[in-house]
Subunit: 324 residues, 2 copies
Amino acid sequence: MSKILIIGGAGMIGQKLAHRIAAASINVDVTELVLYDIVDATKPDAAFSVQATSGNIADPEESSRLAAMRPDIVFHLAAIVSGEAEKEFSKGWNINARGSWQLLEALRSEHESSGGSYRPRVVFASSIAVFGGPYPDKIDDDFLCAPQTSYGAQKAMTELLVADYSRKGYIDGFSMRLPTICVRPGKPNLAASSFFSGIIREPLNGQGAILPVSDETRHWHASPRAAARFFTKAATLDTSKLKGRYSLNLPGVSCTVAEQIEALRGIAGNDVVKLIRTEPDEAVKKIVSGWPSNFDPQRAHALGFEGEKDFAEIIRVYMEDDLV
Amino acid sequence: MSKILIIGGAGMIGQKLAHRIAAASINVDVTELVLYDIVDATKPDAAFSVQATSGNIADPEESSRLAAMRPDIVFHLAAIVSGEAEKEFSKGWNINARGSWQLLEALRSEHESSGGSYRPRVVFASSIAVFGGPYPDKIDDDFLCAPQTSYGAQKAMTELLVADYSRKGYIDGFSMRLPTICVRPGKPNLAASSFFSGIIREPLNGQGAILPVSDETRHWHASPRAAARFFTKAATLDTSKLKGRYSLNLPGVSCTVAEQIEALRGIAGNDVVKLIRTEPDEAVKKIVSGWPSNFDPQRAHALGFEGEKDFAEIIRVYMEDDLV
């Protein structure tokens, strides 16, 4: 008998997650699903009630309205993306950080007014952008956060809040640092990481794609399907197993752009790969060069989180789930 | 020709720092010193103008008022202490985190209205309470923040803000994670760490002291004199040497309570040590058990920050500077 709220429910991961929940691929007896976003989300067919409602999470009244629904599980995926947060300093801090804080305050207020019985599971979508170089070969679970973008700082700040509100028992939450999600379906977005998907997706759709960085660039990837699975698993994770560390580095595939391209060649052939054109973009290179590229996510593995085994699998997931 | 603002100027470290600046022990041509706190601070005699002004840093108008003074150097030391922040959740987040954010926003606003020429040095007093166990034997400069108190989370959040505002060039700041300051002069305070000073200070003043934890408890200490020196050094640090990592673990002395007591015995004798009475306090033990106890602060050493060499030196500094 659980009500689920997805904040950022119109976004790509939000939609994947909503469909996964609608397909009963979550170990929860769902009675209602609420999709919240800046625009009305598409509602999946489901055996339970699905609502879509829209608003701006930076508005404190919106947080109160959402918390008043007393969702049992809150998936918080809403954010403006890295490129936009870097260009629009105030907007980024207001939506990504202050908005998240207000949400947690509104949930705490419901916790208090319930006499302490209301204590929702909150799963916050954080990012590997919380890290900053120089990096070891593989980042372990004890490595510091030193974000080199405003987006990363805003994610790291929200992690601190989720951790402290959870530690105090106002919510039962934690943060998951998602790998870059690849291959994203649909169109390019403003995220500096957008090209990692574009160089696979556009060629597979017969379109040209621009590679703005060197093909030696190594990065850390998981598919949208893996991301949705991380969240449904997170809904019922025994959080006592986190032992007071409320942020998790999630599993992914570490590979270079060249390895991405070779995986694409193996699956789709040389003519498809020829659709990729290199066109260096210094702004994107600068942001991406500050990102981590390889992890040893032992805690997440021990808790049962699993990503893909190689980049070819990531391409096949895209072809199965999203290629029309 | 520098105007210096100390936020938290009435506090113990704020006063030590003010006196150090008044004694010209700072490599800056000071023209004015402003001491800000919730109460009016005592003003040291100085060869330049010293003002004391009071207010609540959680009030946004106060941040604007302080920023409008356009201080060249801002030492931000204001906080409610760990024990109080743990008991009063909203008050702690409001003063320690939101207040700091408002201050940075006000400084950014002055930066913008100056056309970018105003870009103050901001030195934020953070704490080893940003860390959480389990710990390695010595914490290195790459170790994660996983605060286990609200106070620690608030300090870690402010660090993220100071870093991002600095990275964007609105301020020229960084954060220093101070060891526990010991021996604090004066009376016990609400900090859970208060006893580390009390067990030295009270006996040296002929008074009984309570030890609320096991004498095997290891901790990380620096004297008030070292703390003031850290800040005056920070005023003129070449921040480009931080290489995008805006938080520094500072040097200290790692020792157990038993070693503290033996150092006291060596300096002041057995009768003085006998004034310490063990009286376990589970609440204090729980907080302190989550704190780190030993560091390898290589970056701070490389930048020229130095603490004391052993706990006996820390006791002698207290006797020289504060024992009446």
